[in-house]
Each structure stands twice: as structure tokens, then as C-alpha cells.
């Protein structure tokens, strides 16, 4: 690359980064000061953070957000893995239909989905009328295309049928070999799609607002209530949401890179 074009590329990149980081930095600063009506913010304080962490409803919202994120993701991953195993190994012709089914949620808006679920199940009287079950079910639908794509792309990168046949010839059953050989090889795809799902579910307000009413609170609902009370408190909530999302991402990625590093260190022995 020519020196001139490299410099201009760096300038563009820097502008884009600054443009993306300014709102984030402004929110952090805003949450740490009492007043920011002039150019320079005044009155550094951690009062907003003290306030939200001393509020038991915030801690409940945080706990419930993590719970209603993890459970649908785990359920969807297991369902998609098993379905893809059956389809790929025994009914490859059905794969296109499975793909269509899994892509449909892309076209469904949150309001329509939540209202439809309420109409169908709210007065049903079965376990499906439980608000938490409805919410987890709705979240499973929302994240289905992302999880499906992540896992399917991972499977396409390896010759799954051949690896299963090789394991079978060594005396293993196909299902056991799938979890012992195929799943560890597509773990990156599963991780990436899970992180995408986490960010989607962390940001949800519409579905939880419609489906759970006051029974379940998540961070977005808490944020909405905080915005009504104080904009600085809302900024602090936003910063905490962002930090939790970053922490989850960091934990997952470090777990993944640790397994990669173990491989590399073993190779070096």
C-alpha cells in the first residue's frame, strides 16, 4: 500500500473510532458527575453507582437478566445441535426446510411475537402460560437464526459425515462421536453465536415488557425506569450493562483462547 493511502486510511479509521467512542465516553462521564450543563462537567461523584447498587430491584434485574439470557441460549444450542445432527446424518434432504424454519424468526418483529404468544398461551392454563416460560420460549425463537447460523457454518467448515464415519469405524456410536468429535470442532461457531445472542437478549425491552408484565425485570426495564427518575442514574445503569456484557464476552473468549493455548503448549512440548 502506498504511504499516502496508508496515512489517509489511518485518519479515516481514527475518525470512525472517535465517532463511535464519543457517545460511550460521554455517557461514562455523565454518570460520574453531578452536573454537565457547561463544557466541563462539575462535581465528581459515585453517588449514582451507590444508588443503583443499593437498590435491591437493580440486583434482582441483573440476576434475572443473566438468567433469562443463559437459559434460552443453552436450550437453543442443545436443540439446534441435536436437530442438525439428525438432519445432517439421517435426513440430509430436510436440511433446506430446517434452514427456512430457522430463518423465519428474522422476519418476526418483537411486538408481533410477544402479542402472538400472549394470545396463544396466556389463558392456556398449562405450564406454557407461566410468564417466565413464555419469555424463555420467545427468547429461544428470537435467537434461533443466530445460533443456527453459527453452528451450521461451523459444521460446514469440517467434513462432519466423514469424521462420524471414522469414529464409527473405531467402535463409537454416531451420537457419542458427534459430541466428542464434532462439537469441540465447532465450539468457536457456538461461542460467537452465543455472544451475539447475549447482546440481543441484553438489549431486549419490547418482549419482556409485553410478556412478563411486572413478574420479571431485566436491565432494560430497570434502565427505562431509571430514565424516568434521573438521566445521570440512567447513564450509570447503562455503564453497568455495558460492563456486564463486556465481562461475559471476556470470560467466554478467555475460556476459548485458553483451550487454544493448551493445544499450542502441548504441541510445543
Amino acid at each position: 500500500m502506498a504511504k499516502g493511502s496508508k496515512v489517509s486510511a489511518n485518519i479515516v479509521m481514527t475518525i470512525v473510532i472517535i465517532w463511535l467512542l464519543i457517545p460511550l465516553a460521554a455517557t461514562i462521564v455523565y454518570s460520574l458527575f453531578e452536573d454537565w450543563t457547561g463544557i466541563i462537567p462539575k462535581g465528581f461523584t459515585l453517588a449514582n453507582y451507590e444508588l443503583i447498587f443499593s437498590d435491591s430491584s437493580f440486583l434482582t434485574a441483573m440476576y434475572q437478566t443473566v438468567l433469562i439470557c443463559i437459559v434460552p441460549i443453552v436450550i437453543t444450542i442443545i436443540l439446534v445441535l441435536l436437530a442438525l445432527f439428525v438432519v445432517t446424518v439421517y435426513f440430509p434432504r430436510l436440511e433446506k426446510y430446517m434452514q427456512i424454519l430457522c430463518m423465519i424468526p428474522y422476519t418476526i418483529q418483537g411486538v408481533i411475537l410477544s402479542v402472538s404468544i400472549l394470545v396463544l398461551y396466556a389463558k392456556n392454563g398449562s405450564i406454557l402460560s407461566d410468564r417466565m416460560v413464555m419469555l424463555i420460549g420467545a427468547y429461544c425463537i428470537i435467537i434461533l437464526p443466530h445460533i443456527y447460523n453459527g453452528i451450521r457454518n461451523g459444521m460446514r467448515a469440517i467434513n462432519m459425515n466423514m469424521l462420524l464415519e471414522a469414529a464409527e469405524m473405531l467402535g463409537d456410536s454416531k451420537l457419542k462421536a458427534f459430541f466428542k468429535v464434532i462439537v469441540p470442532n465447532i465450539i468457536t461457531g457456538i461461542t460467537v453465536s452465543s455472544l451475539l445472542a447475549v447482546s440481543l437478549l441484553f438489549g431486549d425491552y419490547v418482549i419482556i415488557r409485553n410478556l412478563s408484565s411486572t413478574n420479571v425485570n431485566n436491565m432494560q426495564k430497570f434502565l427505562y425506569q431509571a430514565m424516568k427518575r434521573s438521566s445521570t442514574e440512567a447513564s450509570a445503569v447503562f455503564v453497568v450493562i455495558m460492563l456486564i456484557t463486556c465481562a461475559i464476552t471476556a470470560i467466554v473468549l478467555s475460556l476459548q483462547s485458553r483451550s487454544g493455548a493448551e493445544k499450542v503448549s502441548k504441541q510445543g512440548e
Binding site: M162, M169, K263, K266, Q267
Partner: protein
């Protein structure tokens, strides 16, 4: 008594009849090759033996027991695939130990067997490496070790060398043959490469269009092709209509077609015969292709093209356009 027996095997994929009444027997401890062009059914037969495909009709016996309906993992058969098929998330040790762990063998015994087998395939120093850091040849040797370490009744090799470069391929052909003979393991090898089949096999079964065209030792297959297809596929036979052969050599052989091996076609600058029975024709050199120590000359004899393989000698070298006398021993001409 045969160790493996295929009895009236038929296999169809929809309307495509891939295997047609295959009857084949394999003796214990032999290396048998299923040879043929792509799509002839050789790999399908191998997969039927492995249990990875179900036969449409017929029976398969292994060591006196019918295995036609037994699931692959219970057949006691090892298999090496064309594309290595090593488990990418496991290192060489764990790949080779995979089958032994399933047999619930004690750890110390597994370790010992894995090391022994890696020693046999010459990869002891790669025991902790992952497949991605190995070359194609090394990966295939690991696959071989993994298939053999469980001491299977039969080892199946489905074109295991076709993805490997030429030099390494020749070395591995010899190595696989050495290991097979060292362990005395009954092996069925599938390939479309006739040279590979000749180098490695005790017995060759030549497949064509879902049937066995000819069976025999490599020598028998090479020197006595039974059909026009066998002559075409094995070696580089000159295939001629008998009337053309009779016309250019002024002979009177019976039959429809004849096959002439290129190495029995001799070229000379004079019409001197080495023995009086030899048939002679005149021709023009139209092309020559060096093949290492041999040169393949393409000679035009009255509109009929003949290939002659001649040992390279500087003073005997012919050039395009040279007029030559072509001699053939009629006893070595094969009538098809």
C-alpha cells in the same frame, strides 16, 4: 477357506444400479486391491463391507460369520479414508488411542499400544502434535496407525494416497505394504491407479461398471488382459482391430481385436528380423515422449497409430519423421 466372502452383492442408489452380482473371496493375510475408474463401484463395495452402506441384495461373510446386517462399530473392521479423517481437536496420541479407549482398555496398555503403533509408522516424535501441524503423508500414517492399533480383522484403505503428492505417494505405497506384511493384516485397498495396484497387491480385482471385469495377480492382470476394457485400463496397450493388425503386419490372426504391449513393439532402421517368426511393418515416427529410462515412440503405420516403449539409448534415438521398421513377436500379441 476364504476369510472374506461377498455373495451375489447388489447395490442400488435409487435407479442407479452400482454393484451387479458381485461374488468375491479374499484369503486371510492378503492385500487385495479393488481397481477401476471412478464410479465403477469399488468404493461402494468397500463401504458395504465396512457397514457404512447397506447392500440391496446379497450376503457378506467375515471369518465365517455373516456380517451383512451388523452395525459398523461391531464388525471389527478398520478403515482409512481418502481425506485423512483425523479428529482435528485431538492430538496424534488421542487420535490413535480413540478406538482403544472405547474398548475400555487400561491406560497403561493404551499408552504402550499407541507408542508401539506410532513406532511402526515412524511417527513417535509427533505423538503430541495436532493434525493441523502434520503433512498430508504424516496425517495418513496417523490414520493408518489409528485404524490398525485396535487389531481389526480387516483393514480397508479407500484411496488413501490419492491426495498425496507423487514422491511421497510412492514411499507410502511401499511403507503400507511393509506394515501390512509385518502385521499380517488382511487388507482391501481401493484405487484407480493401476501402477499403485501393481506395486502393492497380492491380488487385483478389476472393476468396470459395477462388475468384476477380471481377477488375478498383478502379473496375470498385466500380461493377460481378458477384455478390451482390461487392456485399456491396465498398462498402455495398443488396441487394434484384428483386420488392421493383419493388414499392416501382413499377418492372418483370427478374432476381432488384438492388444499389443508397447514394450514388445520393437523399432529398427533396417528390415532385419531377430527371429524369423517376427511380424514386420513399416512406419513413420510421429512423436516421442521421454518416460525416465524409457522413450515412448508413437509410430504411424499406414494410418494406424502404434506406441513403442524403447529403453533410452543415445545412438538408437529416433526423431519425428524418421522411417522405421516395426517388429512384433506374434506369440506375445493378445487376442481379445
Amino acid at each position: 477357506m476364504s476369510y472374506i466372502r461377498f455373495e451375489n452383492i447388489n447395490k442400488s442408489f435409487g435407479s442407479n444400479h452400482v454393484l451387479k452380482d458381485i461374488n468375491l473371496e479374499v484369503e486371510k493375510g492378503r492385500l487385495v486391491t479393488l481397481l477401476g475408474p471412478s464410479g465403477c463401484g469399488k468404493s461402494t463395495l468397500l463401504r458395504c463391507l465396512a457397514g457404512l452402506e447397506q447392500v440391496s441384495d446379497g450376503h457378506i461373510y467375515l471369518d465365517g460369520q455373516e456380517i451383512t446386517d451388523i452395525v459398523p462399530r461391531k464388525r471389527g473392521i478398520g478403515m482409512v479414508f481418502q481425506q485423512y479423517s483425523l479428529f482435528p481437536n485431538k492430538n496424534v496420541r488421542d487420535n490413535v488411542a480413540y478406538g482403544l479407549k472405547l474398548k475400555k482398555m487400561p491406560k497403561a496398555q493404551i499408552q504402550q499400544k499407541v507408542e508401539e503403533m506410532l513406532d511402526i509408522v515412524g511417527l513417535s516424535d509427533k505423538i503430541d502434535q495436532y493434525p493441523s501441524s502434520l503433512s498430508g503423508g504424516q496425517q495418513q500414517r496417523v490414520a493408518l496407525a489409528r485404524a490398525m492399533v485396535t487389531a481389526p480383522k480387516v483393514l480397508l484403505l479407500d484411496e488413501p494416497l490419492s491426495a498425496i503428492d507423487a514422491l511421497l505417494r510412492k514411499n507410502l505405497q511401499i511403507e503400507i505394504r511393509r506394515i501390512q506384511q509385518q502385521l499380517g493384516i488382511t487388507t482391501i485397498f481401493v484405487t484407480h491407479d493401476q501402477d499403485e495396484a501393481m506395486v502393492m497387491s497380492d491380488m487385483i480385482h478389476l472393476f468396470h461398471d459395477g462388475r468384476i471385469e477380471q481377477s488375478g495377480t498383478p502379473e496375470q492382470i498385466y500380461t493377460s488382459p481378458a477384455t478390451k476394457f482390461a487392456a485399456t485400463f491396465i498398462g498402455n496397450y495398443n488396441l487394434l482391430k484384428t483386420e488392421d493388425f493383419n493388414r499392416i503386419f501382413r499377418a492372418d490372426l483370427p478374432g476381432n481385436d488384438v492388444a499389443v504391449r508397447p514394450e514388445i513393439v520393437q523399432l529398427g532402421r533396417t528390415d532385419e528380423k531377430e527371429n524369423p517368426r517376427e511380424l514386420m511393418a513399416e512406419g513413420i515416427i510421429v512423436n516421442h515422449i521421454p518416460h525416465g529410462s524409457l522413450i515412448r515412440y508413437q509410430v504411424d503405420c499406414q494410418g494406424i497409430s502404434l506406441n513403442a516403449d524403447v529403453v533410452f539409448e543415445k545412438q538408437m534415438e529416433f526423431h519425428e519423421g524418421d522411417h522405421v521398421f516395426v517388429r512384433v513377436d506374434p506369440d506375445l500379441v493378445i487376442r481379445l
